[in-house]
Amino acid sequence: MIVAVASGKGGTGKTTIAVNLAKSIDGEVDLVDCDVEEPNAHLFLRSNPIESKEVTVPIPQVDESLCDGCGECSKFCEFHAIITPNTKPIVFPELCHGCGGCTLVCPRGAISETQRRIGVIDISREDHIRLIQGRLDVGVAMAPPLVRAVRANSRDNVATILDAPPGTSCPVITTVRNSDFVLLVSEPTPFGLYDLELAVKMVAELEIPFGVIVNRHDLGDNRVHEFCKDNQIPILLEIPDDRRIAEAYSRGIAIVDALPEYKPVFQGLLEKVDELVHSKEGRSDANL
């Protein structure tokens, strides 16, 4: 089972939920930190490095002796990563998504591919948790190819927890796509609600079953609860605004390690998710 932990708003507790879920699973688990622009799940583990590998994307290189300047490559590229002004094509590697389309459409076979490094994947382990973390290189603006590479390193038939980046844009969609269930972590504030509504629309569009976790549920107002009730979205867990949790967090200690009484709570969450995945009762058809 693949469970993605996402949120619209940043700082609602995605990583907290993802790490504590991973720690509460009995048996082997892949914890995948897909927030490649600022990965942080490792801060809550004491994991030992296993391997590190570079991730590259293919970018076009043009053999000018074969190119006749027809510009088919540029017409094809919707990202404007290869343009043909009145010269031979010019490539902008930082705009290239690595789809390979220009290479295919070139009628003269003048374009081949070379590799451009965009980041690294670090794999480490703490007990039963195998942490797979992507780290985008400084200056690289395109996260999805790295997110895909990170996800491709999780194992089939092993419980997988995906820690998504915040927001609802491409890196998040790349993370949650093809997962079995999405946990949307929110907080009961106007910002939390606004971004939750966006996240719900995104997940509904992807037709993935989902439920909501309300973190620091005793703060703010009850509009997140009302929104979930009005739209029949299950609230699967509420976590109180507990100073002990914040103190443990500030020292890089997971809730279940600092406060073992929470372990059954996270195990209960997993059971609920498992039930919803198998009964298909989680909302995936929200029409908002």
Binding site: H80, I83, T87, I90, L95
Partner: protein, 119 residues
């Protein structure tokens, strides 16, 4: 010789568009015929990325030798330079003012981008 200018409207009295890649229109002025044509940049305006380099390609295809605009970012500058187009920046208010300054030789050719991308 043709000169490209970025414009918020469709004629010479329009305000100069400070932006290059996401300018509303391009006005291509021909010094030989003393006439101009207008190119709509609407599609590029909503481009998810690469508006500057795409605009450079558009300008290159018009055969313009110079571009007069408000600001020009690094990727657009690289593309324009590769296409042999000279870049001039100005804070003139209207397209006509910018064109007159250019024709009077009062604008200095830019030797580099003057703003970061996505300014």
């Amino acid at each position: 010789m043709k000169i490209a200018l970025t414009s918020k409207g469709k004629d010479l009295d329009s305000d100069l568009d400070e932006r290059f890649g996401r300018a509303r229109h391009f006005i291509i002025y021909d010094t030989e015929t003393e006439s101009f044509e207008t190119i709509d940049n609407e599609q590029n305006l909503n481009s998810p990325q690469g508006a500057g380099v795409q605009a450079a390609e558009t300008i290159a295809k018009t055969g313009a030798a110079s571009l007069v605009t408000g600001h020009c970012g690094p990727k657009a500058f690289r593309a324009l330079t590769a296409a042999g187009i000279k870049v001039f920046t100005t804070n003139a208010t209207t397209v006509k003012e910018a064109l007159d300054l250019y024709l009077a030789g009062k604008l200095t050719e830019a030797d580099n981008a003057d703003v970061e991308g996505h300014w």
